[in-house]
């Protein structure tokens, strides 16, 4: 018993300090340091696991598709009980809640068994949340074997969740930037829909023709705002020969000449009146309603556009991402990987079974058809016995996305604790340059100087 109030106060203060330290310090789950792999489940061993996915934040086809996948998994693994949950948090966009939710769960000592996190969070997952390396838990051979099978993963997709030679995240769902265009507006503007623009100069010319002949907006690039995120913006910079981060990840390079030129190109589209000053939320329905000629966007929007085109009686078409002059385009990936975040070996093993199912042939056949994400097991598309082959034959819109998968550039994750602030600072500078007519060189340079102070010490 502590009888005196100063002693009581000290005890309370110590408790509060401990609680604070727990909530911001090392997660109670702890890192995996073992080298022995996790044992297999016994045939009659019952395990309960949780799966957290931001896709479950959206009602309708996204949640329905994931529920279908999990129902199928439960039938195939009756000893594993999966509880699916969305990330907790106040944002209406589940992706924005994803990392803060996981941090809270780790602090509380109840991380989900399997978490779906975006590639932009990869470094933070490994460095700060001590995500487990699949190679350590299940052996490198087993991890690589999962990438193989009858329809192996695309070579470019396999290493997207790797850090320092180990797989921490198994790539799950993603897209590449696709140039969707309104073939009906092309015809009305005297353009040939069979020959969509291949580079940004041609995009501008086509956009001007659409504007002058139809009065509709020419083009919208959904890669230039904080809301759109940086995955697609990185594709623009990389297509012009640049990068937002140095090769060793130690230095920011988003104000280098290739990035400034890429932003300048977009600024010119706005300045010449062929790209409308719309937010992402405003631009989606405008394109779906047939009021914009071209739209650079993730294929996960395809369902929305197909419906819009059918309702508005216009023809939707798709092409690969335009390039800068003769430089080959460098499409990046959007999307997320699956991480095993539980500490209990039985849950880890059960979680691995779930990851294998969700990244298997059956799951990709369902995801590609119902959501529009890429089937990372690309062989499915050419296998006549696969349900996906006939679907792709009837839906040629998916082809540009598949073609771009072959020359994919990884979406780079900014390092350190302040990676979100760095990313937002960069995108705010891009947005200001493109939509508020600020000088790209000066704006990006100032943002880079500010963000450099947020980079982790070497």
């Amino acid at each position: 018993m502590i009888r005196h109030w100063p002693a009581r106060a000290a005890a309370v203060a110590a408790t509060l300090l401990s609680l604070t330290a727990c909530s911001v310090g090392t997660p109670s789950g702890g890192p995996s340091t073992s080298v022995a792999t996790v044992p297999e489940l016994a045939p009659d061993q019952k395990v309960s696991i949780t799966f957290e996915s931001y896709n479950l934040s959206t009602a309708g086809p996204w949640t329905d598709t994931f529920n279908e996948l999990l129902d199928n998994f439960r039938k195939q693994h009756p000893n594993i009980t999966v509880t699916a949950q969305k990330p907790g948090g106040a944002s209406a966009n589940g992706v924005n809640n994803s990392m803060s939710s996981l941090q809270s769960e780790v602090a509380a000592g109840n991380p989900p068994t399997v978490a779906q996190e975006i590639f932009g969070d990869l470094d933070f997952m490994v460095d700060k949340l001590h995500a487990h390396a699949y190679d350590d838990l299940f052996g490198r051979n087993a991890v690589q074997a999962n990438f193989g099978g009858a329809h192996p993963f695309a070579d470019t997709a396999k290493p997207l969740g790797d850090v320092k030679g180990k797989t921490y995240g198994v790539p799950f769902v993603f897209s590449t930037p696709v140039l969707y265009y309104n073939a009906s507006l092309f015809r009305a503007a005297g353009l040939d829909p069979a020959n969509p623009p291949a580079n940004w100069d041609q995009v501008k010319t086509a956009a001007q023709a659409i504007k002058s002949h139809t009065g509709k907006d020419g083009v919208y690039i959904d890669c230039l705002t904080k809301v759109s995120g940086d995955w697609c913006y990185q594709a623009l910079v990389a297509s012009n020969g640049g990068s937002v981060l140095s090769g060793d990840g130690s230095k920011l390079t988003f104000a280098d000449a290739p990035a400034v030129e890429a932003v300048g190109m977009a600024r010119d589209l706005v300045g010449s009146g062929v790209m409308p000053q719309l937010t992402q939320t405003q631009a989606f329905p405008q394109f779906a309603a047939g009021n914009i000629g071209m739209f650079l966007e993730s294929s996960s929007l395809q369902g929305n556009f197909v419906k819009g085109a059918a309702d508005g009686h216009w023809d939707l078409a798709a092409a690969t991402m335009p390039q800068f002059g003769s430089k080959p385009a460098a499409p990046t990936n959007s999307g997320a990987a699956l991480f095993v975040t539980a500490s209990d070996p039985a849950q880890q093993r059960a979680g691995w079974e779930l990851v294998k199912y969700l990244t298997g042939d059956e799951a990709y056949s369902i995801i590609a058809r119902k959501i529009g994400y890429l089937p990372l097991r690309t062989g499915l598309v050419d296998d006549p016995n696969s349900s996906l082959a006939s679907w792709v034959a009837q839906n040629p819109l998916v082809r540009p996305n598949l073609d771009q998968l072959k020359r994919l550039h990884p979406w780079l994750a900014f390092p350190g604790d302040n990676y979100v602030q760095i990313r937002n600072g960069m995108l705010e500078a891009v947005e200001k340059s493109v939509f508020q007519n600020a000088d790209p060189n000066a704006t990006l340079t100032a943002a880079q100087q500010q963000a450099s102070a947020l980079m982790p010490a070497k």
Partner: protein, 272 residues
């Protein structure tokens, strides 16, 4: 001079109030107007939705379980308000019925919790909820919200003005403190208790952040159900407005039935 200015001032006052009323009511009107537009017309700027369509309501009912979510929300708001009312009554009674050392300090500690933003207590609350096994349950939303500082302050003010003679008479009659609370105090505080209950219910009905932290499945509360209409594919505005319109109806109904008490609750909480 004064007599000629008064009607004009009144007229200006009415115009200003009228404009403010329109500014307040218009977003609600627009919500219902949008909910009755055809999905293809959802971006239309016409004041009157025409042709009328109930497709938004059909879509909303198809996408989320509106009835189940409203029932859950009603349960959460009702139990939270009831719990807050009870704890507020006990605390206010204790703070005013007896004189004891640290009485003022205890009250100031209650009031002081108002200075701590929710973001600060969020994570400790979350950890406690996890340890109690209440994550993903309606109880997890209710339990940390069972004490309301607003309730304690309001009832304390009312109890301070309560005639002490009545309490002393009850004591002389041989009634215990517990019996005095329920047979003397509560019947005489019916009006402020009713007003406070309504305020607490509406506040709990509108709460979004904490339920969003605790509830992770689709069968949760209506506030989170509405969230499901936002997606990276774009927002289904007509279904969202239909669901939001339905979510408002219980509170509107409550307001229509208990209008006098609600106005009284807002006014009294400010001037006493």
């Amino acid at each position: 001079m004064i007599e000629t200015r008064r009607p004009r001032q009144q007229w200006i006052g009415h115009v200003v109030l009228g404009l403010l009323s329109i500014a307040c009511i218009f977003p609600i009107y627009w919500m219902y107007a949008t909910s009755f537009r055809r999905p293809a017309d959802v971006g239309a700027a016409s004041l009157v939705p025409w042709p009328l369509s109930v497709q938004g309501y059909r879509d909303a009912a198809h996408i989320i379980d509106i009835g189940g979510l409203l029932l859950n929300t009603f349960t959460v708001a009702g139990l939270t308000a009831a719990g807050q009312l009870l704890t507020s009554l006990f605390a206010a009674y204790a703070l005013t019925r007896w004189r004891f050392r640290g009485q003022q300090l205890a009250y100031l500690l209650f009031v002081g919790t108002w200075l701590v933003p929710f973001q600060v207590t969020m994570l400790p609350n979350y950890i406690v909820i996890v340890q109690l096994g209440l994550l993903n349950t309606l109880a997890g939303v209710i339990v940390p919200m069972l004490c309301s500082v607003l309730g304690v302050m309001m009832l304390r003010q009312h109890l301070q003005a309560f005639p002490r003679e009545l309490l002393e008479a009850a004591t002389m009659d041989g009634r215990s403190s517990w019996a005095t609370l329920w047979t003397v105090v509560v019947p005489n505080l019916r009006a402020p208790l009713a007003s406070l209950a309504i305020l607490l219910f509406i506040t709990s009905w509108n709460e979004y952040f904490w339920p969003a932290m605790v509830l992770r499945h689709s069968r949760s509360v209506i506030q989170l159900g509405l969230e499901g209409f936002f997606s990276p594919e774009g927002t289904d505005w007509s279904a969202l407005m239909a669901a939001a319109g339905l979510a408002c109806l219980p509170v509107f109904a409550l307001y229509l039935v208990l209008q006098r008490q609600i106005v009284s609750a807002f006014v009294r909480s400010g001037i006493r």
